[in-house]
Symmetry: C2
Subunit: 150 residues, 2 copies
């Protein structure tokens, strides 16, 4: 398994663990410039009673806390689903270098859909964006989760 | 002083306190449906090494924690500056009923500028938005802060 594949595999593991906790199955991993996993998280909005506790936000906050900085230049973020506008703007604020995401999110996404947060002059840092990695597994997790709740 | 004026005055107090801490002077207040102040906060991104620690996010997280819920239906949010896309999306996710903000933010705003987070089908809850309240004071605080840092 390549390093890249393993980062998305870890994000998918976090998504699965979120589903097991009754949370929307999305997982995220922050990788430092030297290739180490700096932080990994899954959604915890229900558990924490926190609408901002998306996987990306929790992983970024943890990596920033460990780095002692509100910025993570040269870091990458891997996430199983297209970030929403909140997470996209946080990714920009944290100066994440590269964003890798799995499934597109027509309903809530804010990168290639809707608000398209990175595509405005008000966005002062745009990461490089790579999509579609592990998308089938990410979609299957989400589908299973929402079907199970009906 | 009317109740409405006093809520923005409290948000401005929080912005002033943020400036005193060396943070960008923005303040926010969450008001519960019965008119009580549920939470008040100013920016703490530097202090907390957290790029998501904007005034709005901190106030929403605290109000949610106290309510034991990731949603705050019927609550209002008062903030001295037009929210960025991250905060606008968090306001939507928290189901805030009414958003009152002071100064417009051409450079970073995500409500009436750039991403216009509430104006897309991917936004599933749009608060009522009222702008311009206390805008002069909010702008003067920001201007003084950034001039002092040059």
């Amino acid at each position: 398994m390549s390093r890249f594949t393993s980062h998305m595999a870890l994000a998918l593991d976090q998504a699965r663990a979120a589903a097991d906790r009754g949370e929307v199955p999305v997982g995220a991993v922050v990788v430092s410039p030297d290739g180490r996993v700096a932080a990994a998280a899954g959604n915890r909005t229900r558990e924490l009673s926190d609408p901002t506790a998306h996987a990306e936000i929790l992983a970024i906050r943890e990596a920033c806390r460990l780095a002692g900085s509100e910025r993570l230049p040269g870091h990458d973020l891997w996430v199983t689903l297209e970030p929403c506008p909140m997470c996209a703007a946080a990714i920009s604020a944290a100066r994440i270098g590269r964003l890798y995401y799995g499934a597109s999110d027509v309903r809530m996404g804010g990168v290639e859909h809707g608000a398209r947060v990175f595509d405005h002059p008000q966005c002062h840092h745009r990461p490089q964006v790579y999509d579609g990695l592990g998308a089938d597994q990410a979609r299957a997790l989400l589908r299973g989760f929402f079907q199970g709740r009906r």
